[in-house]
């Protein structure tokens, strides 16, 4: 008995230690980026364009580019995701097609981001002729995010009690009207949570925009949907591997990394807070 209790003690401590390792990894990542990036952050860094061969100046065009491309991503991924989820949760009957759709969604979620990049290049840039542009990049990221928004929206719809649907249908209200007025409104906070998480991921992605519209350097902001654009993640990639004077621009790279993770993690944080608020409310 003694020895098995000792085993338990050691075992549990190994598990605790593993958790600590994870926290340590996260801590190191955040500490390194924040401590070395904070020094270059100032008003000019945020609001100016890069200057002197990107060895000076700021990252404003990259911030704006990331914002625009994420908006396009949302315009694609949110409605399509919600509609698909409405089909799956409200209309679909059990059967082969439904199973196939679910399998396709799970597989889409596992397709590598660079493959989405290839797909976007072939479809949007070449076949549809949108060229390398913010539109092509946004559409590519939108398709990549679609499985996330579908899954999140379906979860949210599933959480709406069936008694709301049946109560409404029993009043002689049509199915679509019931969904629109007595199901969807209660799913919106949940849909929002998952959607924000998906968009945060899209905003930080690089591989899908490499060949679909991201530009090395542009001194101006994107003017239209067919413009190329600078983006924070791509800018970080350039500044840390492709620049001719990497050592000199390293602080700028850190600053870019900091802005990027602040942006992405604050989106994550909003989603997490929204979700825990939701859980409390539903209790």
């Amino acid at each position: 008995m003694e020895s098995s209790n000792l085993k338990q003690k050691i075992g549990f401590n190994i598990l605790r230690l593993s958790m600590l390792v994870i926290l340590l990894i996260l801590g190191v990542i955040l500490y390194d980026i924040i401590s070395k990036g904070i020094g270059v952050i100032n008003w000019q860094f945020i609001t100016a364009a890069p200057k002197n061969g990107m060895t000076e100046g700021g990252i404003w065009p990259a911030i704006v580019g990331t914002f625009y491309v994420t908006v396009i991503t949302a315009v694609v991924a949110v409605p399509l995701g919600v509609f698909a989820a409405i089909y799956l949760n409200e209309y679909a009957r059990q059967g082969k097609i439904t199973r196939l759709i679910r399998m396709a969604i799970r597989n889409l979620a596992g397709v590598p981001s660079i493959v989405y990049g290839l797909f976007g290049l072939a479809l949007f840039v070449n076949v549809l002729g949108f060229g390398t542009s913010i539109l092509s990049a946004g559409l590519t990221l939108g398709l990549m995010t679609l499985p996330v928004t579908i899954t999140a929206s379906e979860e949210a719809l599933k959480a709406v009690p069936n008694s709301y649907r049946h109560g409404s249908l029993a009043l002689g209200v049509s199915k679509w009207h019931s969904i629109r007025t007595n199901v969807l409104p209660y799913a919106i906070p949940g849909i929002l949570t998952g959607t924000i998480l998906g968009l945060a991921r899209a905003a930080g992605e690089t591989a899908p925009i490499l060949f679909t519209g991201a530009a090395f350097f542009l001194p101006f902001l994107p003017q239209s949907l067919s413009s190329q654009f600078m983006a924070l993640p791509y800018h970080l990639y350039i500044m840390s591997t492709q620049h001719h004077d990497i050592a000199k621009v390293r602080p700028l790279a850190y600053g870019t990394a900091l802005v990027l993770i602040v942006l992405v993690l604050s989106m994550n944080l909003i989603a997490i807070l929204l979700r825990s608020w939701l859980r409390k409310k539903n209790k």
Partner: protein, 254 residues
């Protein structure tokens, strides 16, 4: 009795969940403006039967109906029948009170709004009338804008009745409406049912024989998916013809 006094006529109704036959050759005539009680042990098919009358069973996959259900002499399972307008005429109150997470006012106004009534005065009028008919007006008239989730279970159930009344049905189906309520709330609902029959035809599923005896005019006894016996409540309870009915109402099983 002639057809004209029978609101609902069911003939040889079979009902299947996939391979399982839940109802077998059920026939029943429910008189207009009376309360018909459906009694029987759990799983006897009485709730399933109730849900064939407004086709709520359509929502379950793999179900199948054979036979005829006539409401006002119209077959509600005919091909071109519009289920949505059927449910407008045949309201339903569920076992567990299911108010929507909206205000009391919006719960009652939900149906009429969905059916295209936009005029505020008209809606106000419908809400007030419905709540009065459901004997809830006096208790909630000063907090119509409060959430319906905050009122008691008995009030919630009466709200659901008001919600059903607001779309102006002529039949109301009730699926064990008091099983989740305490005795005081139950008594109120029973009282209400007796008042409502003046204007509506009511079919009520109940687990309690006392309740059936108290409030119904007509009773049908279900057992394993069949109607064993149906007739005026008094007769069923005092002079049942079938031995099984007698066994059930005297509490020998079920």
């Amino acid at each position: 009795m002639t057809n004209s006094t029978h609101k609902i006529i069911v003939e040889d109704l079979d009902f299947y969940y996939d391979d399982f036959q839940a109802l077998e050759k059920v026939s029943l005539k429910a008189p207009a403006n009376q309360v018909t009680a459906l009694i029987g042990p759990s799983g006897c098919g009485k709730s399933t039967f109730l849900r064939t009358l407004n086709r709520m069973n359509d929502l379950i996959e793999g179900t199948q109906v054979e036979g005829k259900v006539l409401i006002d002499n119209e077959d509600i399972y005919q091909d071109d029948l519009d289920v949505v307008s059927l449910r407008k005429r045949v309201g339903m109150v569920f076992q567990d009170p299911n108010p929507f997470p909206k205000s009391i006012y919006d719960n009652v106004a939900y149906g009429p709004k969905a059916h295209g009534i936009k005029d505020k005065d008209k809606l106000d009028d419908i809400v007030e009338k419905s709540l009065k008919r459901a004997a809830l007006w006096d208790e909630v008239h000063d907090r119509l804008d409060k959430s319906a989730i905050g009122i008691s279970g008995g009030q919630q159930q009466r709200l659901c009745i008001a919600r059903a009344l607001a779309v102006n049905p002529d039949v109301i189906l009730m699926d064990e409406p008091t099983s989740a309520l305490d005795p005081v709330a139950t008594a109120k609902i029973e009282e209400l049912v007796e008042e409502l029959k003046e204007n509506y035809t009511i079919i009520i599923v109940t687990h309690s024989m006392q309740q059936a005896a108290r409030i119904s005019d007509y009773t049908a006894f279900f057992l394993t998916g069949e109607i064993v016996e149906a007739g005026p409540t008094e007769k069923i309870f005092e002079r049942p013809e079938d031995q099984r009915t007698e066994d059930y109402i005297t509490g020998r099983f079920g």
